[in-house]
Amino acid sequence: MNPADIVRTDVLECAWDPAKLMMFSAEVDPLVYYSHLFPAIACTLLALVILRGRGKGLPSLMFIIIALLFAVFAIFDLFLWAIADPSQIMFFWSLLTYIEPLIYIATLYLVVSFAYKRDLSLWAKLALGALFAPIILFGPTSLNLAAYDYTNCDRLAVEGSLLLYVYFIEIVIVGWILVTTIIAYRQATEAAFKRSIIFLTAGSLFFLLAFSSGNIMGTFMQGVLGEDAWFYGQYGLFGMPLFLGFILYLIVQFKAFNIKLIGAEALTASLWVLLLALLFVNNITTARGVIIITLILFTGLGFLLIRSVRREVEHREEIELLANKLKKANKRLKVLDQMKSEFVSIASHQLRSPLTSIRGYASMLLEGSYGKLSPKATEAIERISDSSTYMASSIEDYLNVSRIEAGNMKYELSDFNLKGEAEHVADDKRQEALKKGLLISFKSDVTRQGIVNADIGKTRQILHNLVNNALKYTPRGTVTVFAHDDKKKKKIYVDIIDSGIGMKSDELEDIFRKFERAHNANQTNVTGTGLGLFVARKMAREMKGDVTAHSEGVGHGSTFRLEMPLQM
């Protein structure tokens, strides 16, 4: 018989109050609204939270898909409870056959992408597609829904053998989830991540099994219990709120889905949804059952809420205490820092003034301003002069370091010829080099004028530091100052090439650290503060240049390079 031929209003025995919005009918037990709308609203809300919190990555996307599919499933299922039109019932019922395995596939995807932190392999995707293909193929046939059964006014579809295949897919996916998460759990090293895998897998399996048990109950018990089979089956939908509980716990405890949510927010939202769901109950007998469920969940959630708020308050108090301590410590540090700066400045100035007079008088003595000196006295005065010069340069280094660290170093930038400055420094140091038996030479391959914009005094100091360094660590041989440029890179370089002790490649960066000297420096009997290169590099970098070192190895000499941007 064709359904179109039926005059439904004449079926007096099966009279049905027409549903409003396909959902609200006086014929439907209020518990049905509670079991369907409460999980649907709860999961949609959490999906919105994840969407709004810009939860990134595949697991977030999959959760949103699961939540939406589940909400659609619950709403369609609710239509089946409320509407009377057989065609509409058949249509929405047949759609459930599509949605149910899709929820399973999305849950598998969620668990696997979460546990492995990557997408499924192409083969896994193809296998899932192949698994789902028969549903696409036979969904619109009588293998899905065989007929519409109106015999007992039950308004039920007679499910076909495709539903058995759906349950087969579900078993396969549950097994798949179990196996892959066990492997992922074994591979994971971090304890917190391992726990989060367990939580997600347990929550997902609980949800899927509860969800299936409801539908399996409906399918297999329909023959015995009729519509009642589906009435008991609806309890399976409560698997979703519990799954949401697991997801919320993962978000709060493990910051899963990259969402920042504090426990109090999550628990308040859960309680709100729970209370909202009570609105769907309008029958006192049902209300009693629902209120008992709410009360149990409220007690649990309330306990967790109080605990979470208490913990957060404790954390805040702890942080306030620490912040106060930090404030005090900071104040003390500022005072100490000021005292240190004052001490360094006073000490170095106090030392510099007498040193200037020591050097001045020593120089005058050597020049014979106070009469001729005996050779022994000359030698002693020369030592005094050398030591005081060394001491003055050390004090200058300490002062520079203190200025650099305090950020008080001032740079007066102007345009000057770096090639010329390098040549002057080489000339200045020639006498000192000769005294040590070293040859110092200057070479230039600069194609242009070699103008740079920098602090001329500081640049000179950098070059002095580099040449001094080369002279110190070259027992014999030559030191070459070589200026050259690179027009493409718009840079000018001054290389200080020595034939000295050299160093290993792993020391090339260490020597630019404060108070650091090359490992073999002690063998050369060289005095030094270990600050010259540190100061040189810091100053060069402040002027948009750099100082780098290169060496072929111990005994093969070194090259120190000052590079500065060229003014074009």
Binding site: D10, S87, I135, T151
Partner: protein, 50 residues
């Protein structure tokens, strides 16, 4: 390169899957809502036909 190709294959199959799924759902709509092509078991004695 291999990964890139795999991504393209996966995307292709996803589109194919989506297209067939949509077609299948549309077919269901036509079958039940438009054509009303399904069997119906009725309580015989109470049914009145035109």
């Amino acid at each position: 390169m291999k990964r890139f190709t795999q991504e393209r294959i996966a995307k292709f199959f996803l589109i194919l899957f989506g297209a067939f799924l949509t077609l299948s759902i549309l077919a269901t709509f036509f079958k039940y809502i438009v054509l009303e092509d399904y069997e119906i078991y009725l309580p015989e004695e109470e049914i009145v036909t035109e």
